[in-house]
């Protein structure tokens, strides 16, 4: 909960939910667990506003409540954590992954769930079907069952999970869990949950839903009717048999997927395509058998790997063995050998791979920021742990003056630390050894904080740019509205042209460049988020094992 994290969370909350939620959220982040009355007093907001903010935060899982510390009678306390709010930064990546894995349907399901926080299956299916139908040609519409099957696929692979029942909400949830003996429904067998946070055993069980029909297209002429229909579906939900069962996106599963992708692309870069395919197969096979915090996957025999390889890669058995041996011998240690049975048992070393990737990230930061010679010194220190200044100069083959300069720069940026080893008890400088060293974990934490600050800077710059050109944007919006209404009411081309000319050419240029800037800033945020993900996974992985 560093300063930069709180600042970034505040900006994200402001963008997505508004300033009031930002105020409440930031206050909760800074102060820890608070009860309602304290929040009202300290933020100075009226009661109903605070209540609404808390509802929003709870709906999105950013805030949890529990009974107070002083015992069951004391008021409930609300607690937010940074991690959940920082996930908002990663939403585009989740949606994109769903799109690559499950197509447009999956993408829209995930998008809806991310926007709403918690939703029942039936309402998700209906909304998504309507949206898909909207984009299709006239006369075609989306079947609810298609969307439901996509939904169940997502549940099967654990990308979606049920929200845990709130304490004191009653056993209603469990009783409405449908029997799985209906063959028509795509009910998945009850899976043992991988999430320790979700102690609810039916976490991934798709409920039986009596929902059939097609998506409705929303036309502008039917606005009046839709107003009445809008109320109806909400009443219909109760009859679909899955009320009270809310679903949320399972972030951890997405993170495991991202981590696997990072490892596979690293192997592809370092070795070749075939090796990365082998590693991909191994990771796919251990998706459900490995716990998220595991040090390495379960051992897989090379027979199994051979059988599970995609058929497009028909490599012979001995060649596969050679590839596996090469993977094991590689200094990066992505794959390790765990035994000899079944033709050789192989594991993917997850933590070590993450550590190597984090180390490569640190090295690339030093390289880009300070030059390749400083990067050489940095890598040298990473390898050899502790070195004196003279030894650094000798190993790195850099002239003494320059090496000294670079070492001091790195030291001032706190990327390199100094360890004193005294020869005499009085720490006299002439009689002490000074050794330079790099500690990977604290350096990674420092860089993570820098990443957070960078993203916050990018967001602020984006908001600034938008604010600067607010007048221009408003003007262009007005003109677009006028154009649309003129077109709808059937105007002549000259009138349209006149309206269009109200925006002058330099203004248009400015608008274009503004759009370009905002896109650039957005994509930069996503890129920094990738770094954040790597560093975070490394830190949580290492910190938990040490």
């Amino acid at each position: 909960m560093t300063l930069q994290e709180v600042r970034l969370c505040g900006l994200l909350l402001r963008e997505h939910f508004g300033e009031v939620v930002e105020k409440v959220g930031k206050h909760l982040l800074r102060s820890g667990a608070l009860n309602l009355r304290t929040i009202i007093n300290e933020t100075g907001l009226p009661l109903d506003l605070v209540k609404k903010c808390l509802c929003v935060l709870v709906q999105h899982g950013a805030c949890v409540f529990s009974s107070g510390r002083k015992g069951p009678g004391s008021p409930t306390e609300y607690l937010t954590s940074c991690n959940r709010i920082l996930r908002i930064l990663r939403y585009p990546r989740y949606i994109y992954t769903a799109k690559t894995l499950y197509g447009d349907t999956g993408e829209l399901i995930i998008e809806e769930l991310l926007q709403r926080g918690h939703m029942t299956m039936s309402s998700t299916v209906k909304t998504v079907a309507d949206r898909l139908t909207q984009n299709m040609e006239e006369g075609r519409s989306m079947e609810y069952s298609e969307v439901s099957s996509a939904f169940s696929n997502l549940v099967e692979t654990h990308f979606l999970q049920r929200c845990p029942p709130q304490p004191g909400a009653g056993g209603k949830d469990k009783t409405t869990a449908a029997p799985t003996d209906n063959p028509a429904t795509p009910a998945a067998p009850a899976k043992t949950t991988l999430q320790t946070a979700e102690s609810f055993p039916d976490c991934y069980k798709v409920p039986h839903m009596t929902l059939s029909g097609r998506g409705k297209r929303q036309l502008s002429t039917e606005e009046g009717e839709d107003q009445r229909n809008a109320k109806k579906p909400r009443l219909d939900t109760a009859t679909h048999g899955d009320e009270g069962i809310y679903w949320q996106v399972n972030y951890e599963r997405f993170h495991l997927h991202f981590r696997d992708q990072a490892i596979i692309s690293a192997v592809a870069n370092k070795l070749d395509q075939t090796s990365s395919e082998i590693v991909r197969t191994m990771l796919r096979m251990s998706e459900v058998t490995t716990s998220p915090t595991a040090h390495c996957t379960k051992p897989l025999s090379s027979n199994e790997i051979f059988r599970s390889l995609p058929s497009s890669y028909n490599i012979a058995r001995p060649i596969l063995d050679q590839y596996l041996t090469l993977l094991v011998d590689d200094p990066m240690e992505f794959v390790g050998k765990a035994g000899e049975s079944g033709g050789g048992m192989y594991v993917v070393n997850l933590h070590r791979a993450l550590a190597n990737l984090a180390r490569a990230t640190l090295e690339s930061v030093v390289q880009e920021r300070f030059g390749s010679r400083s990067a050489r010194i940095f890598r040298l220190l990473l390898r050899k742990r502790h070195l004196e200044q003279k030894q650094v100069e000798d190993f790195a083959m850099i002239p003494a003056k320059e090496a000294k300069d670079m070492l001091y720069t790195l030291l001032s940026e706190n990327l390199v630390q100094l360890q004193e080893i005294p020869k005499t008890p009085d720490y006299a400088p002439s009689r002490t050894f000074y050794l330079y060293t790099v500690n990977q974990l604290p350096t990674a934490r420092m860089l993570l904080q820098n990443c957070h600050k960078t993203v916050a800077n990018l967001i602020e710059r984006r908001l600034f740019e938008t604010k600067e050109s607010k007048r221009l944007l408003e003007k262009s919006q007005r003109i677009e509205a006028i154009l649309a209404s003129l077109q709808a009411s059937g105007a002549e081309p000259e009138q349209l042209q006149e309206v269009e000319e109200m925006i002058t050419a330099p203004e248009k240029q400015q608008l274009d460049s503004l759009k370009l800037h905002i896109n650039k800033l957005d994509s930069a945020e996503n890129q920094v988020d990738e770094t954040i993900f790597l560093l975070e996974s490394y830190i949580t992985g290492t910190a938990s094992s040490t």
Partner: protein, 316 residues
């Protein structure tokens, strides 16, 4: 052997003959003889006479007096060097001795003073004298550029003093190192590419992309870019810097003694590698490379809203 017996019987006490005898014994045992040996050889000789003979030889400069763990040793002095010192007095001989003992590492003037117990002025005079006679020379040390070490004239200075192949006249040759760096890397890279294009089984591919340090050394020697002779150790230091650049990886394999390039039964193999990660996302933004990153605050002099680096980057 018979000669010895004869000498015993005649009971010679002639001092020159004693000296000659001692000299012959020294020749017999070039490592040096102890007092015990002389006594065994000439048992009838009184210790006083023995001492006189030895002293005479020492003063003539024909015998060297050394001490080892069991006592004193007498060794034949090189005739040539004995001739050199003719005309020099004992002090000079002492200083010369001290410098000679320092071997090719050289010795600092203060250390000469300690070892010979002579005052500073005397030492300096003697050093100047010896230098003019071209018996010793001064070599500037690369570690401390003001320090001068003295060593015998015809000796090659040790690597630790001159810095070895990478230093020419006390200056570190960084361009030379850079050039060698590039050449080694290109050689390993082309080898790796050739192996990859050969499309054989992966094990063979990997093995053929390896190069031993001996091969690289031969390649560099044949290129002829170096005016100085480079040893295999020098090449290995260059290859190590490539490892620290992240461009090359190394493995050690056991090799038969006697295969060319093997050291102590192992061989080092080097191979060009690709980087494992593209430049990370953080450095693609101006903030990742910003020199005033820590001073940047919203509302301050330097802030995201008025950051000039960002403006440049956005208009790029």
């Amino acid at each position: 052997m018979t000669e010895v017996k004869v000498k015993k019987e005649t009971n010679v006490t002639d001092s020159t003959e004693v000296e000659n005898r001692i000299k012959e014994l020294c020749h017999q045992f070039p490592h040096g003889i102890t007092d015990q040996v002389i006594q065994n050889d000439l048992p009838h000789l009184e210790p006083q006479q023995r001492a006189m003979a030895i002293n005479k030889l020492l003063s003539l400069g024909q015998l060297d007096l050394l001490r080892n763990s069991s006592g004193l040793l007498y060794r034949m002095k090189d005739v040539q060097s004995a001739g050199k010192m003719k005309g020099s007095d004992n002090q000079e001989k002492l200083v010369y001795q001290v410098i000679e003992d320092a071997g090719n590492k050289g010795i600092w003037s203060r250390d000469i003073r300690f070892k010979s117990n002579l005052p500073l002025t005397e030492v300096n005079k003697i050093l100047k004298n010896l230098e003019s006679k071209k018996l010793i020379k001064a070599v500037k040390s690369v570690a401390a550029s003001k320090k001068k070490v003295y060593m015998l004239y015809n000796l090659q200075p040790d690597r630790s003093v001159t810095g070895g192949a990478w230093y020419s006249d006390q200056d570190f040759e960084s361009e030379f190192v850079e050039v060698l760096n590039q050449q080694c890397f290109k050689f390993l890279q082309s080898k790796a590419e050739a192996a990859r294009d050969s499309k054989q089984s992966p094990m063979v591919q990997r093995n053929s992309s390896f190069a031993t340090s001996h091969e690289v050394w031969k390649y560099i020697c044949e290129l002829g870019i170096s005016k100085v002779d480079l040893s295999m150790d020098d090449i290995e230091t260059i290859l190590n810097t490539l490892i620290y650049d992240g461009k090359v990886e190394m493995t050690v394999v056991a090799a038969k003694e006697g295969t060319v390039g093997s050291v102590d039964g192992q061989m080092k193999l080097f191979r060009g590698v690709n980087p494992v990660l593209q430049p990370t996302g953080l450095v693609k933004t101006p903030c990742g490379l910003c020199p005033v990153f820590d001073d940047c605050q919203e509302g301050g002099e330097i802030s995201p809203s008025n950051c000039i680096y960002m403006t440049e980057w956005l208009d790029f």
